[in-house]
Symmetry: C2
Subunit: 340 residues, 2 copies
DNA sequence: ATGAAAGCGCTAACAC
DNA sequence: GTGTTAGCGCTTTCAT
């Protein structure tokens, strides 16, 4: 490991026979410089491989070109894909990402905010299953621009990007009804609290009412978000002899768990029971039967959030505090049309 | 968005009626300070909510407390889990992660190195499917400590962490042989080049030889790493009437693709054909039949790499340049014991 | 158009 | 033990 002191602006200035201010002007294009001098400086820069030290620059400009990103879980498809979108756009705008992972723990969330703040990030993007009031408070107190990517964003007065959950759930339920399903169970997964899936449950209810189908509490299963939670819940339902002709799960993982539970209880999917999911994770295309599900533009969620946050940094006007991206229903194999 | 100028060391010094050096000493514990004075400073810090500006600190200490992490793909389970390990350990050591995603593109890889370097990261962790010579060269030229997480690491004179690929493949092949499989196909997926799976192929060969089974070129399928690549290849093989009694895929995704291809060609897994994978991604526990596969300690790969790299930063001696972590075979349902 | 100099917030000699 | 001061590498007035 050779210890090579990096070239500084001083070195360049000396080599080019100009003052450091001139060098600064050249690299920032901030003030006119005689083209001849400019060229000389540029040559020296190329020759020495000089790279301005962003730390020093940030110290004076107060612009770190850093975006803080807080995710609840890295290994989760949702986060990963959103992160992809964030990464792509921030790169376009020459921002870098400072990453923090919270495992959905409140304390870690707040700690992360403080760390990222200390690191001088210019803005934060917070991905959360379930936004916490205290966290929002802490975030607001920092005075740093922030945007949330979360289904629960509408419960707070914050900038956010999300998908339209209620209509999506309504449409999927309607889709199931259109395919002549009479007894539709809902597997409502929640990460932390109940309230976050409320919108999807609401959508489910709306569709039912619209079709004069009565809402049956027994057909609504609340469970955790893990695979095994979903599996056990559905297994239980089936064993209690509550046999729906369709199951709408509010996450793909739960939907897959439901499919497996059905099979293990002797029911075929989709012949006996149809199953629909939510999220369109990669796996849903691969699993057999291929999952009919609701697609959310995960990448775009991240991309849009990043654009908004960069606008905020630049002091630009934000049209709407809450952006909702469109969803779409992806028809695959796990739902059978029972009309025929 | 209230514009509040953050408290600086000066403000604290003034409020506490001491010099800034004393404040510095208190916050860094770098020199003894009378406990009474210390308390006074601490009080002011608490009162004002002062947080030292790491940028300014880094500028003088040349320690950014930043780790650069380069991954080939964020949405990939492998990267995500490794990243998890990196995140966890770096947090322990008070380092933050600057993230770059390369989509396995050489150019982006090099660009990322330069960006991260400019951002003053103290070390880099590079996750790569297939290490590129030029990239290694560029990296070495930066003089920044680096460690690679890659199967192809052994081809270079670099610090690396990986799993023991060859023995793992050998063992899995042996396992298949032990279960009385006579005709074992190998689906060798590669991300970019051929050479990276060589070790696994080698392991496969070794096991075959050891059991006096002859190596049959026709049973080795080379294909890309995507699901559909794997699916198509296996489908083709089956349609060419090459019917193995076991398929060993060098990735779980390929293994799942193989399972689906078998089913679609009318073969039952594991009754007609056994299938084994590699990686033990989350999905492999959930898929039906549950996948028998090789587990790699993904999280640990990241964790260990981070520890090593931090040691390097601190100028500590590194015992071995190449660390290889143990693997294990996870027996699930996709392989049948044909001895009975 | 260019240079000199101040200063961003902090650490680390160096004095006392 | 504590204060003074010189930078770290850069941008940005303010002169010239």
């Amino acid at each position: 490991m050779s210890i090579k002191k990096p070239t500084t602006i001083k070195d360049v200035a000396k080599k080019a026979g100009v003052s450091i201010s001139t060098v600064s002007r050249v690299i920032n294009d901030s003030k006119p410089v005689t083209s001849e001098v400019k060229q000389r400086v540029l040559d020296v820069i190329k020759e020495t491989g000089y790279v301005p030290n962003p730390l020093a620059r940030s110290l004076v400009t107060k612009k770190s070109q850093l975006l803080g990103v807080i995710v609840p879980e890295l290994t989760d498809t949702f986060s990963a894909e959103v992160l992809n979108g964030i990464e792509e756009v921030s790169k376009m705008y020459n921002y870098d990402i400072l990453l923090a992972n919270t495992y959905s723990e409140r304390e870690l969330e707040i700690k992360s905010i403080n760390i990222l703040r200390a690191k001088q990030v210019e803005a934060m993007i917070i991905v959360s299953w379930d936004i916490d009031e205290h966290t929002v408070e802490v975030m607001k107190n920092t005075g740093i621009p922030a945007i949330y990517i979360s289904k629960t964003a509408r419960d707070f007065d914050i900038y956010s990007v999300s998908t339209q959950n209620e209509p999506a759930a309504k449409d999927m339920t309607q889709y199931l009804i259109d395919k002549a399903h009479k007894k539709i169970a809902l597997v409502a997964t929640s990460h932390m609290q109940e309230n976050e899936v409320d919108q999807r449950i609401a959508g489910y209810k709306v569709a039912l009412e619209k079709n004069n189908m009565k809402f049956d509490e027994n057909l609504v299963i609340h469970c955790g978000s893990s695979y095994s939670d979903g599996y056990d819940s559905v297994k239980n339902m089936l064993e209690s002899n509550i046999i729906p002709d369709a199951i709408f799960a509010t996450s793909d993982i739960a939907a897959i768990a439901a499919i497996n539970a059905c099979f293990d209880s002797g029911y075929n999917v989709p012949n006996d029971i149809s199953v629909a999911g939510f999220n369109d994770i990669k796996l849903s295309k691969v699993y057999r039967p291929k999952l009919t599900t609701v697609n959310q533009p995960l990448f775009d969620l991240g991309a849009v959030a990043t654009r908004v946050v960069i606008k905020m940094i630049n002091g630009e006007e934000i049209e709407e505090k809450r952006v909702e991206l469109p969803y779409s229903i992806i028809e695959r194999e796990s739902v059978l049309d029972r009309n025929k």
